[in-house]
């Protein structure tokens, strides 16, 4: 680290940093003061952490902007300090600024609201967690910004990488929603794992709330930071200064980012198309957006054959993959019933049927049959017959999902499978649901009634019977 350079940076930015720290302190105190005294410290601490995290993400974009301008690169890369030392000094300065700003605010907050309300141990744990997160944020934000060759591209690439985990999550969700029968859940877990910022904010929140911290997630965050160190070395210490103000055409810049986004979006469209929900206008819009993205990258509007070729290639690959996914029932995902993680697995079924035969669909919706069977974990053997009936029925529903054509009429009912902690709980996890074409035959309903509740309702008359009562009444 270069002491002279650090000294210069501190003196250069002292006023701005002081002003920012004062603003953060003011906002944190205002936030802390606006509520119960017991939780004031926690509120203030969370606010200070959030503000300094934003600083850790945004400040590198200001600090490293000289790298992206030819004239400023001339001045700063001609300084009598080696690139490695300059990099370490820059990072130390960025992290140090955020850390000092945060620590000053926290000490003041603790003196005002913390004593007697927050244990010193928790206070120190929060400090450690936030400081670690700040370091990660500084490293990753700096690394992403330096992938580019101009200020504008740097901001664009930071934004693109920030939203990439979300795009990945949407793509996986679309795959599950369209190609895996029964699965309609949002895969937020993936976006968390791919997003260092989300991991850091979750880590900070957990520590503040006194919740258990996920060690693998913390380690993953550290792994991202280490990866960023490698990226920083490549993009700063070994940087070719002449890259300044050139097109951002490095491997991890526009060429890859544009095509990843294009591939992800095309795959989502392909999933919708193969599952009989095509929207062809979206393909056209995507192609236009693709060309605009190439304009942002190359700074000139042109329709090169290579763009068409790459787009067509991505179109083909994504559609072949989606089609293969459709034909293999979501690459086998649809057949798999996730292992229960909760205490109870519930099969919840309803269908609109005729009053005369509860196993026959009724387009007039005269009678509704509802089945709810709760199977406690570890007692599956006692429910074997019910499970067999319902699993066979689930398989039929899966086949119906993949066999239906674009002009198929609507479902006559639905089979839900989910986990819950207690019988009366309303919190569902791992919720799978299937539209059904044919209702469960009456004889199976009779067998299922031995394992759980089977209700017959008449929506028109607002009456409800157990299965046995209804059969008796019908006679």
């Amino acid at each position: 680290m270069s002491r002279e350079y650090l000294n210069y940076l501190i003196r250069k930015r002292a006023v701005v940093l002081g002003f920012f720290a004062m603003c953060c302190l003011g906002i944190s105190i205002a936030w802390a003061a606006g509520g119960l005294a017991d939780t004031a410290m926690l509120r203030g601490s969370e606010t200070a952490a959030a503000l300094t995290m934003l600083m850790a993400i945004g400040f590198p974009l200001v600090q490293f902007s000289y790298v992206h301008r030819r004239s400023s690169a001339d001045r700063f890369f001609a300084l009598p300090v080696s690139r490695e030392k300059q990099l370490v000094t820059e990072i130390a300065f960025l992290f140090g600024s955020c850390a000092v700003c945060y620590l000053v605010i926290m000490c003041i907050l603790y003196a005002m609201y913390g004593i007697g309300h927050m244990a010193a141990g928790q206070f120190l744990l929060i400090l450690a967690a936030v400081l670690l997160s700040l370091l990660e944020a500084v490293l990753i934000s700096s690394c992403l910004y330096l992938i580019a060759n101009s200020v504008f591209d740097g901001i664009m690439i930071c934004a693109a990488y920030t939203f990439l985990p979300l795009t990945a999550a949407v793509t996986v969700t679309t795959f599950h929603g369209s190609l895996v029968a029964g699965d309609h859940g949002y895969s937020s877990g993936l976006s968390y794992l791919l997003s260092p910022a989300a991991l850091a904010f979750r880590f900070i929140t957990s520590v503040h709330n006194g919740e258990p911290v996920s060690v693998p997630e913390v380690l993953l965050g550290i792994a991202y930071a280490l990866l960023a160190c490698f990226g920083l070395y490549r993009n700063y210490a070994e940087r070719k200064t002449e890259r300044a103000e050139q097109l951002s055409d490095s491997l991890f810049a526009y060429p890859v980012i544009i095509n990843i986004y294009a591939a992800a979006t095309l795959f989502c469209l392909a999933c919708d198309t193969v599952s009989h929900r095509p929207d062809f206008i979206l393909y056209l819009i995507l192609f236009v957006v693709y060309i605009i993205a190439q304009f942002v990258y190359k700074r000139k509007i042109e329709l090169k054959p290579v763009y068409l070729a790459v787009f067509a290639g991505l179109l083909a690959v994504t559609h072949i993959t989606a089609y293969a996914g459709w034909k293999t029932h979501g690459f086998g995902e649809a057949e798999r019933l996730p292992l229960p993680t909760e205490n109870i697995r519930t099969y919840d079924y309803y269908a609109y049927v005729t009053p005369e035969d509860l196993g026959k669909a009724d387009p007039e919706y005269r009678v509704c049959v509802r089945v709810m069977i709760n199977i406690p974990r570890g007692k599956e053997a006692s429910y074997r017959e019910a499970i067999d009936i319902l699993e066979a029925y689930r398989k039929k529903a899966i086949d119906w999902y993949y066999e239906r054509s674009a002009d198929s009429t609507g479902d006559t009912g639905r089979l839900n499978v989910y986990g819950k902690q207690a019988e009366n709980s309303y919190d569902m996890t791992g919720h799978l649901w299937y539209g059904v074409k044919e209702p469960i035959p009456e004889k199976d309903l009779i067998r299922l009634s031995e394992y759980g509740s089977v209700q017959v309702e008449s929506p028109v008359l607002e009456e409800s019977y157990s299965l046995s009562q209804y059969i008796e009444k019908r006679r």
Binding site: P80, V81, E242
Partner: protein
């Protein structure tokens, strides 16, 4: 002494420097010239440690200018496009030089007066010429051993040029500094430089003492009784040749006496010898390699 050996630099697939080698003696002012895009700024940036050479070596007083921080502290580089952050003033820029270089406050004050620069002046609202003056001012106040001026001499008004020349002369006398000035205004460079280096197609085309080189190239104007052909001068190293009837004007490299003797053998009725300027030297060197066309 600055020693450059076999320097290569490419931008992508375009090779800009293809084996540049030269030596700059202490106390020398070298004019670095060449056509646009030939690699003058690239060479200066490599010497300053801004760009890294693909291969080759740059040493100042035996120390590598890329790796050695101490030697870089004694290199002042003034870029063709000086950078000033928005809102910065002449005074605010001082912090960088105070922190990173051997900045001399007394010299700064002295030169500031000479260049007529106000400390409170906003750099962003300055004219191009004034910005160059500020860059030069700071470059001169750090006790450099080597000053690299990338087109920083071009565009200075005559009085400022004269003042700079005076300051540089003083620095050479007192501290034995070396200076490399790149530029296109060769008449201005001729005023100040004692050595030159012509870059062409990524290599040094010609390099040496300016007076010596100029003394080795002369313009000859001669006339004969009857028309003469160029073949008659096949023994001469002709850089430029033009003929109008019986009158021939040519630029020849070589000792004036020897060339004169050679020409006398053809019995001219008139023979005049004229010196060449740096600009002419540059033009004729390039012309002899087919650039004039």
């Amino acid at each position: 002494m600055l020693r450059i050996e076999n320097l290569h630099k490419s931008f992508g697939t375009a090779a800009v420097l293809k084996g540049v080698s030269m030596t700059v003696n202490d106390g020398s002012i070298v004019g670095l010239v060449g056509v646009n895009g030939v690699g003058k700024s690239t060479l200066l940036r490599i010497i300053a440690g801004v760009y890294r050479a693909d291969t080759g070596m740059v040493q100042l007083n035996g120390r590598d200018t890329w790796y050695d921080e101490e030697i870089r502290r004694s290199i002042a580089f003034v870029s063709d496009e000086p950078y000033y952050p928005a809102g910065s003033t002449v005074a605010s820029l001082r912090l960088l030089y105070q922190s990173m270089y051997d900045f001399d406050e007394a010299l700064f004050e002295e030169y500031r007066q000479i260049f007529g620069i106000d400390l409170k002046m906003s750099l962003t609202s300055m004219s191009k010429g004034m910005k160059k003056r500020v860059s030069l001012l700071y470059a001169l106040c750090i006790h450099p051993k080597l000053i690299l001026l990338d087109e920083a001499y071009d565009g200075l008004e005559p009085l400022a040029r004269l003042r700079l020349k005076k300051i540089l002369s003083g620095m050479i006398e007192d501290e034995n500094v070396s200076v490399i000035i790149s530029g296109h205004n060769l008449r201005e460079l001729e005023d100040i430089c004692d050595a030159f280096c012509i870059l062409e197609d990524g290599v040094v085309l010609s390099y040496g003492d300016l007076l010596e080189s100029k003394g080795n190239v002369h313009k000859y104007q001669a006339a004969w009784v009857s028309e003469i052909t160029r073949e008659a001068f096949s023994g001469l190293d002709i850089l430029h040749y033009e003929q109008e009837g019986r009158v021939v004007r040519m630029v020849v490299r070589g000792s004036e006496e020897q060339v004169r003797e050679e020409l006398k053998k053809t019995d001219p009725v008139l023979l005049d010898v004229l010196p060449v300027s740096f600009e002419e030297l540059f033009l004729y060197e390039l012309e002899s390699r087919g650039y004039a066309e």
